[in-house]
């Protein structure tokens, strides 16, 4: 039962993990001044954002491509077909949206100095 809900919510959960990881590591590294250059850039932050985004996005992509396998992993036996179609459809759409949201967030790290205030 809980597994079914985790299955539906897989995408948003991965998105939450990504946001926590990138915001957490960026805030902590910048606050502690670890690796920050004089211009406010910080390669450590950049790499942690990239890694913390690629892993959840990868898992999410796998869930979209292999819904049956991920369902088995999380919830076990499948119910009737109509129900399954609904669960799978909702999961895929949600995960797709989540990947988009992850990409939006990660893009910032490519363009902006990692630790500088904007003004």
């Amino acid at each position: 039962m809980v597994g079914t809900f985790v299955f539906i919510l897989a995408g948003p959960i991965l998105w939450a993990i990504q946001l926590t990881a990138i915001y957490g590591s960026q805030s902590a590294l910048c606050a502690a001044g670890i690796g920050t250059s004089s211009g406010g850039g910080n390669a450590l932050v950049l790499w942690s954002v990239v890694i913390a985004s690629l892993i959840p996005a990868g898992v999410a992509t796998w869930a979209i491509l292999a819904p049956a396998a991920s369902y088995r992993l999380l919830a076990g036996e499948r119910g009737d077909a109509a129900q399954w179609g609904f669960l799978r459809g909702v999961m895929r759409l949600l995960t797709g949206l989540s990947i988009l949201a992850m990409a939006y967030a990660a893009l910032g790290a490519v363009f902006l100095p990692e630790c500088a205030s904007l003004r």
Binding site: I8, D80, Q83, G108, A109, A116, S117
Partner: protein
Amino acid sequence: MSTTEEKKLPNSGPRPEHELEDLKRVWATPKGIRLVTAVNNTVIGTLYIGVAFLFFVLAGVLALVMRMQLAVGDNTLVSQDLYNQLFTVHGTTMMFLFAVPAVEALGVMLLPQMLAARDLPFPRLSAFAIWAYVIGGLVFFSTIFYDLAPKGGWFMYPPNTLTEFSPGDNADFWLLGIGFIEISAIAGAIEIVVGVLRTRPPGMTLAKMPIFAWAMLIFAAMIIFAFPAVILATMLLEIERAFGWPFFSAELGGDSLLWQHLFWFFGHPEVYIIFLPAAGLVSMIVPTMAQTPLVGYRLIVVALIATGFFSFGLWVHHMFTTGIPGLSLAFFSAASMAVAIPSGIQVFSWIATIAAGRKRFRITVPSLFVLGFLFIFTLGGLTGVMVAIVPFDFQAHDSYFIVAHFHYVLIGGMVFPLFATFYYWAPMVSKKMLSERLGKWAFWLMFIGFNVTFFPMHITGLAGMPRRVWTYPSNLGWDVLNMISTAGAFVIAAGVLVFIIDLIRNFRFGEGGAENPWGAGTLEFLPNDVYSTRSIPHVTSREPLWDNPDLPREVEAGLHYLPNAPTGGRETIVTSAVEAKPQYVLQMPGAGWTPFLAAAFTAGGFLLLTIKEVGLGIASGTLAILLCLLWTWQLDKPSQGEVDIGGGYKLPTYMTGPNSHSWWAMVVLMLVASALYISYFFSYLYLWTVSPDVWAPNGSPAPPSLVFPVGSAAMFAGGSALMAWLGKRLPEPNVRTPGVPAGLVIAALLLGGGVALEILGHMQTGLDPTASSYGAMVYMAPILTGQAAFAAIVMCLFAGARHLRGGMDKQRRVTFDNAALLYYYTAAQGVFGLVLIHGFPRLIG
């Protein structure tokens, strides 16, 4: 219908005469003064929504006063100080006493009907939550009359709200009053989660659930994760104000931005907490008005879930101008864009549904309000995307542009759907429908008035007028715009007045209203009485009333499930969460005084504490706890054996373990507690990131010797082991042994002892919570665990007492199981706290 088809129905007719009389008797609404003891969802739901509407009117009157003051420059109608109180009470009342309660009320009122359940699973809990809200809310609002109202705005930022700048009790009324109302909202949310997941009719799988039920499920889940953050914030601020623990004072290592983080972690989801149920209502009304199934049901479910999640990832967009690193802003700006997508999906689904049914689409009062909603909300969404762009926000921040934006979203997104709801669902609880003629007047006055009031504010804001100013010099070119806004506000008021006249003329509480007047497809329009539907239908589609026009007749004739009251009390069917397979029959409590009295004394306790009557406050709180115990003592009815609900289902009448509704409620409660603790964890780490070099400050005492945390952890672990051991050895029914209560008392002592030992350890080193934010945070961990421990201890003792009175044994063990669940949770949280405090940053930092 032919007889062969009739055979497939769960029960056969005609039903014995006495069944209907039994149902009527069991579910009868108490009369006269005893009405306050009622727990029926239609009765308390109507009270709930009525009081929420009252707060809308009251806060609206305050808005009119503000608009009168702002009509012309250099006005002196109200003083600056009163103006501060006015916008604070207006904003706070609208958000906490009107918007959230109103949608929660609709949940209580409509969900059981939509799910064809006899009631929500914890009727007394809803009654308690509602009375607490009514009493607490009225007292909070009345502070505006005694110059006692808070002045810090609806988000009460420190340092402005610290004692230094806000002396007196005003701010405390906000902190304790609103903190208390939130507890009531959480109680309601627990009810809604368990209700939606477990009291659906047989056959209503997740894929067949009405959209409103989805919306309320997500709404409740969001409350569960969002409200604890602001509860923690109000606790910290109140503790700082009362005892001087410097969580928010920069000179002692605190940070006022911590408040903003905690507040907006709640505050942004709050906006969607208000909007999602309203969107759910629209998704119910649109298909009926267009006589077409909702286009994109699955997409709407996705949109609701996605909004619910993403809305937790944008709180920092309220803090764009606080000097946070640019990249952090980008993360949250990104989420703010992402959250706009699902809202867009919903808007397109509604438009597509209307388009698909355009030949049949009826322009009624509900559809007018829905169309008004679409127009206004979309505009509010557009300005929302504008202010989510960081550079634009730097310009618009704290100006009237923001006031315009959020009124477009809030009034468009919530008030208009609410009025649609009033007209659409009134026949469910009223003998007469509301008037289409008056309703159209109300709509046009409100719609035109709204745009006249708030559209000019965009321009006023861009012209530079800041929000929250009590007056402005007449020579800045803001006068005309403000005068227009004020005129518009009175037009809105006229619209609301017309609606009230309509209510007075046509709303008559009671059964026997028009049956399915709009031709809707969902279950709440089945024939209804005090017991909800006569029998609980077997559901095979999303619009059962459209697909089976005979359903009302079948249900009314008692041919579906549970057409009677087999245990002689109130009951409903509990089904599985995903597939909605019948699992057991839940025996529910009926009317009683305890929820009302407990709520009154809880509210009393909080209010007495606010005005620093500590002794009386504690007495009142203790009374409230005793009343709660009295109330729970009457719950957990013993098994009545198996009952036949029809359709070949013979269901048990008592359930324990992960299938039982009380287990679910406990798990949800634990989620609330952990959300509170995670907020604390965040705050602890946050204050460290703000000033890692002075955390702990130089000269603070060394950490206590490891004996203390290790001893404390041992007590937690030992107590948990004891509980597990006891759980396996509960005696058979009718066997009473003093060993059970003795074991429970020892477990309780261990839990309390573990918390006390941790506090003692720090006290013994001389760490002073008022000297630094570090010290304050260190003591906060065991205090939070102590709170949970207090509840767990009370429950342990309660279970022990019940055993002695023959109410708890190996079979009837729900009171024990609940205590044990909370016990394990508390112990785990305690151990986590020990590792955090003793390990970081002092050990490894």
